[in-house]
Amino acid sequence: MRALTLVVMLALVLGGARDVEPAESPAVLLERAHQAYRQGRFPDALEAARGAAQGAPRSRDALLARGTMAEFMGELDEAARAYGDAVALAPARRAAQGAPRSRDALLARGTMAEFMGELDEAARAYGDAVALAPNDPALHYALASLAVRLGDYDRALRELDTIFKSQPWPAQLLFRYAPVSVQKRLMASNRVLAQLVQLQVDILMEKGDLGAARQTAWRYAIVEPGRDYCGESKGPAASRVSRDERFTRLRLATLAQPTAGDCIWWYGQYLTDDGYMRLGRLIVTEALKHGDSEERKQPGYRYVRSRLAGGREVPKRAESLFLAARQRYLRDGDVDGAERLLDEALRVAPSFVRPYTMKAHIAQDAGNPDAALQWLHRGLEADPDSWRTLHNLGRSLLELERWEESERALVKAVQLFPEDMEGRLRLARALYAQGKFDRYAAETRNAVNIARGWSRGSAVAGAATFLEKFDRWGPGAAPPPAPDVEPLLGYGQD
């Protein structure tokens, strides 16, 4: 009987084994995919990579293999999905969210929240972490960072002071009383300390105390006497350095050379491009105190009017929310998160125009041009002299072939920024469509001349050729081109 049972069981097991073939592991399938690919059997490679990714949907290697093979085979949607899944395996935030309430977990959560623009969540996490470890310098640095983003500069300086005071007393003595020559060596040998001083200088500048920022920069040898930082940021040699390096040189020129109005002016434009409204306004205003006659300062005044909210103060919290929202939308593709932050920014600062422009951008990308126009109009209600809003409105209206309205918006845009090459070419197109050919030709000629002056001639070559043909034979059936032209410093990135 026993023997019979054993035979029956064996038969069942073996029969089952024949019916259900054991599935291959994702690792085996992945290796098979690689092998098939090497041997040129691409469909087999894709099939194996698909199996590997289905068997191990959390495996980055399997997802990457599937993406690569699918892309190679022209299955672009499938590749996009696989790559997207691989990118979505971002470990830091999940770990921070699921972690227990330790100092490390809270700091990680706070840092991530701050990065994402969730400023209240960051404040709560840092607050809880400080309660657990009140003397932790990393937490005080995090609090200083958050305070800067919220515009609480005094609090930020106090937090930095707490970190300095937590150093051993010989280091504190050196830091407070040693001469500049010693500070230079101290900063060179202690990078953390040097970074803290750099942040302190930035905070003082942003607080509006440029004098104290300059003093601190001298005191801690961030800038050297007699060195021409402004000169280093100009000329052919400077044209080869990266944008970041040039930014750094202009910052040092602003700190070391209070009369170098042109470099201070450029530094302000860099900051404005990057979206730092408060510091941009302070630095541009500082630049306008120096140098030329009132007449030559007119472009500067126009810049403040059209790019810096007419010199009105934008709450720092709104600025920080906008900065984070922009990157969440553009880099992370997080539409909901970005829109939530932009809404919050508008609640905090209803007259801050950049969130309106960004909302319009999102609506336009979502295929809703009417909503985009509404946001742009609301932006102009908040700030009627915003060049970017007018420029974008003119562009959107042009795409909808609403020529007259487009013309009105673009005329004002180029009045506020006469070197707006792209705006002039779009205006020219709107004029052409309405049969206003003389003005079309004048605007195009203007744009082409400006572009050639700024080494952007190739970008407007099509428009120039069209104008030549127009001059020779008169208007034709096709509309003139209105290409994208790389904007000048101070008018980009938004």
Binding site: Y37, R38, D61, A156, D202, F247, D274, L279, R326, R331
Partner: protein, 312 residues
Amino acid sequence: MISCAAPPKNANVAERRECVPATRRAGHRFFIASRNAAAQIAFRSLVEDGQRERALAYARDHGWLALSSDWCGGESAFDFETTGALAVLAHPDRAGCAAEHGIRAADLGRVRMARFLLQHALATPLDPSIRARVEHTLRYGLPEHDVPKLAESLYRTASRLDRVYRQPTEEIGVCHKVIAADPRLSWPYHIIGRDHMLRGDHRGALPWLEKALEVGPRDLKALYNYAVTLEWLDRREEAIAAYQKVLAVEPDNAKVHASLGMAFDRLGRHDQARQHMELALQLDPRQREARDYFNHQFGRDARGGPTAFTAR
């Protein structure tokens, strides 16, 4: 806490005193290493020649085996190749600890030593991720055939002329000797091609890289540079196919994802460009090309720091 390996100039007396034992050990190691500099070369030659017993006896005769009871861990007075070989010979059951030494040796072109260390490592239990790297190195980081000793030695000379002495003219001369000694080795062709690339002569680089891939189709470095060269020559679709071939073998190579992303971007295939740039950054958040790409597209990411300067 300061690092005793490189104490800062401003370390105080107490901190320096803490470092005394470590400093003494380091001095002793330096003494041992310098006294055995020539012997290490002889030992490695025996290992590379397959004379394991003689190599082990040589190490024993020189008193090296008494220096350490564990060549897999702790500090070693010898260079990484000698240390790895001693680990394999002294503890064959734990030869896996020499895996990293083998990978490094392969990266430096030490074909025989790398193969010795990696094959022995592979014969022991290994962490799956290390095993995968060892297998990958054996398959793609080393030539498939046995490289004559003369060719390997000459290649090492060429490599030093390139990496240490920065003498490209002499380096190319030596590469031609390597080719004469072993025409089947892809590396010298690749080096000559790369030298043309560095001089901006991409048209001149192409035949050398093609030759490298003809004799060594698994040479991923040559394949990558081949793709770069094709891109320079405006043969962008072919460049993309070549980058994809590298990625099929190394799907987690951030640099290649970034290069492929740039190639797609130049072709106007912006969605694919962005996908690869995102992958490159996920695989290596510091990947410069991908970071520059996003900064150019979307402006500086202000989230990286509280101020414009610290965010950079």
